[in-house]
Symmetry: C3
Subunit: 371 residues, 3 copies
């Protein structure tokens, strides 16, 4: 008996066996704003080469501070423009000096007359918000009408924000599922002790799904790191009614914790940007805002511990989702046997909001056949 | 003229040109007991992730010392169970805590009622013999009737046994051929001087083939390391009639040396276990038993030298068989031009006892066509 | 608008849009003499394993100093002969001792009678010229009639020669185009300052194309390294008429600088030898001869600076052509949009002189389709 999809008639939910698309082969939909870099990574007068789902994109910040995004290939010999030079408000390719303005138009070829300049390269809509450089990689005509994310807590002085993120070698969908299924507290048992999540209910809209949880401690006492992030357990013992809400609003995800009194004590915004064409690697951009406690500077003093704690948690998550991706690569299909309702709704959402094409994958495994 | 199979009419043996299966693409037959780990690698209360021909398998030793083997994938999200926790006589997955007993049955999902537990994972027959953990990866119904190897010398106090082995990046068949063709002494000329092997004859059964050799020194004097392993050349000069018998009993191999008086002075048992699905890497498990000489502790004192000597020999063998595999990868076919009769019989045996399917390989080379 | 071939009607030259072969998939033609090693790499009594377009070739130098080239695979088990032993005027395979003479004939198998020796391996015509070992990898019948390159400056005591080269991860055609298009001075702006190349005209024959340039400095002053290689700018200001001629004579390339008086001050010969079957890596063999100035030892004293300068230039060139290759790998086709006439003639030459087959490539990219 093998670990393939089962048709048990669990009362929670039966795994879907209809011929749905393999979620791990659904490309992220390009018609949204995606963060491709932190603002501080892009210095004045410099370029930065980034990627979105295999597309090379060069970000440039002119001396005047303006940021723009072009296809990261010179129209001439296809070498990356990010190896070139910012020259005034334009980029000059580092090979033969072809020059492009912020709209991608070729405005100079040093050894060619101005009247016979070739065409240029693609330009992408580009915005800077809350310390992130957002690019709209899809149909540029839709960029204006699509909203950029809002970051209320980040700009609110009542909160302190930690920016974090790393490359993670998996499809973005594993990231959404990891965060939304709080039964995975068992993974963090060394950091958090044994916590039991209880789902309070879930809701769904066209492009979003959310779920609420409360938590109770099964054994052990609360680690210090956790108290910092989620609040001290003095406030949330048996009578604790703190509620964690995890929400995917395509393509972003948020996690918010409200105290019993309804105050927002923690506010996480997070995005997972596919880097390679196969979308087997994503770069995670997270903004974790923590409400400052009454005592001045208490949170600042505790900050290094919070950084350490969140890094440990994130490292465990990264490790496990990369193992999920490896399993998919070897099995060549999605053998997941999901029984938790909100995760099945989330999977359905990611499928329906994703791109229409199918990511072609290389099969690594080998079907043994009979022996 | 290229190094392709030849049709010379050698009196020894003509290379077979009939459309036989490429031996390097014959999978090992799974209906045998294979060693997948040394006992000491599997600590009480711990797991160990191993592989057989691409199949991930988790070995677990419970606190009570019992060993069992399961498919190394949680039925839920396919992550490796070896990253989980041994809990009593079961394994708990490290992600969401799904729990399996030694038969692979799922006995707990923390957030699901016991009455609606999903199916589990595959279990493999598993036995511990002579410090090795054996698993039966094929049809479990055949496990009982298939014999486990016997290790008479290992348990005999008249012998001292060295356990050794490494990963070798080649198909298992190269390993069998390397050991059985003693004309490859030339490879070990730096370790052994110039030895000439003489074949005394060969025999074959349904699932075995064997050959006997005697040796004579061509030049130089006997190295100390060799004297330890094969006996001093004082005893085996011109009148020496020590006989080396090499035998493949599918899928294992043995090499035994008997002195002129018929006493078994060296007894090697060895197995080559494919790790990856393409079976281009094997893990070698060797048990080399040396009969202790009359002088107490003489062998113990000499042991470090023997270890050094056998490691050197094994390193040379490993290097050359990996070059054979590389050549096959580049040529995309088996261009071997074998002229030594017992090797051709061995190749035929490995083909006929192997799995029936064909290992799909990726062609690396490039056919130049005409220019 | 994407960086694909354009149909602009530039007066210089319109990119060719006819269904021509992708130049990056044209194999180099094997019916020429190619340098596969520096003479000093091949010691007396030793072997050296090299490659030409994926073909493994062993070079051997006997104790008497004779050099020969064979297929680098034993006819027996296909292991590399370069791991064997030079024995008199022959090579003995390191595995079972099969022995080959310089014509590739098998002259000994230690355990086989001389009367039943198997066939041998392929031999290649081989010559040593000017410190390079040349091999003719194609049709050996054509070797005699095909000329070896001449190296007049290398043997002329009026010149000092620097031998250099490295592996570069790109198709050989990128190397030819890089050197011939002197508008790429912009790439070396840090080493050379801003130089403007002016094309004086181009010529073409059946198997060659050449172009002449003069240079003028746009800004900054002449770096010392450049003065050494190209001559001091005192001699070549506004009235300077030094001419650089770059010539591809298939499959080699030369760059010569003549002073206003017509004296040859710099003479570079260079070849790019594909190493792998996909011809995505080449080994560059360069011989840079500089005419010695009147002052004795001046050039010797300046040599370290010249080495440093040329290494820096070569490193920049290597980096950029490897980016060109990467772009081709990702795009799966040649999107180059060449507007400089001599480069288009060069590309046409490389296509017409190259091998007739097509290099099969693996597509790495992923066509997103509609979303």
């Amino acid at each position: 008996m093998s670990a393939q999809p089962l048709s048990d008639s669990g009362t929670l939910e039966s795994p879907v066996l209809s011929p749905v698309r393999d979620l791990r082969r659904v490309p992220i939909h390009p018609d949204h704003w995606y963060p491709l870099a932190w603002s501080k990574e892009l210095k004045p007068g410099k370029t930065l080469g980034v990627r979105f789902a295999g597309e090379p994109i060069v970000l440039a910040r002119t001396e005047s501070g303006k940021v723009f995004a072009l296809e990261d290939r010179c129209a001439h010999r296809q070498v990356p423009l990010h190896a070139g030079v910012v020259d005034g408000e334009s980029i000059r390719c580092g090979y033969h000096g072809w020059t492009y303005d912020c709209s991608g138009r070729c405005i100079d070829v040093p050894y060619l007359g101005k009247e016979r300049l070739p065409n240029g390269v693609r330009a992408y809509p580009c915005r800077e918000v809350a310390g992130l450089v957002f690019v709209f990689p899809g149909n540029a005509a839709l960029a204006e009408e699509r909203p950029l994310p809002e970051f209320a807590s980040v700009s609110d002085p009542a909160y302190k924000t930690r920016r974090f993120g790393r490359e993670v070698k998996c499809h973005y969908s594993f990231m959404h599922e990891n965060l939304m299924d709080m039964n995975h507290q068992f993974l963090h048992r060394r950091q958090m002790g044994q916590m039991q999540a209880r789902s309070l209910g879930r809701r769904r809209g066209d492009d979003w799904v959310e779920v609420d949880y409360t938590f109770s401690r099964q054994a052990g006492k609360q680690p210090v790191g956790e108290a910092l992030v989620f609040g001290s357990s003095k406030d949330r013992d048996q009578s604790d009614k703190s509620v964690m809400r995890i929400r995917t609003v395509y393509p972003y995800q948020t996690l918010q914790i409200r105290s019993t009194e309804g105050s927002l004590v923690m506010d996480l915004w997070i995005a997972y940007v596919p880097l390679d064409a196969q979308q087997r690697t994503n770069r995670t951009f997270g903004m974790l805002s923590i409400r400052k406690p009454g005592i001045p500077f208490a949170l600042d003093l505790a900050w290094p511990l919070l950084v350490w704690f969140t890094e440990r948690i994130f490292k465990e998550d990264r490790w496990i989702v990369e193992r999920e991706q490896e399993a998919h690569d070897q099995q060549g299909a999605d053998w997941n046997h999901e029984v938790f309702p909100v995760i099945n709704e989330l999977r359905d959402l990611l499928r329906s909001c994703g791109g229409r094409s199918v990511i072609p994958i290389r099969e690594i495994g080998y079907d043994k056949g009979e022996c």
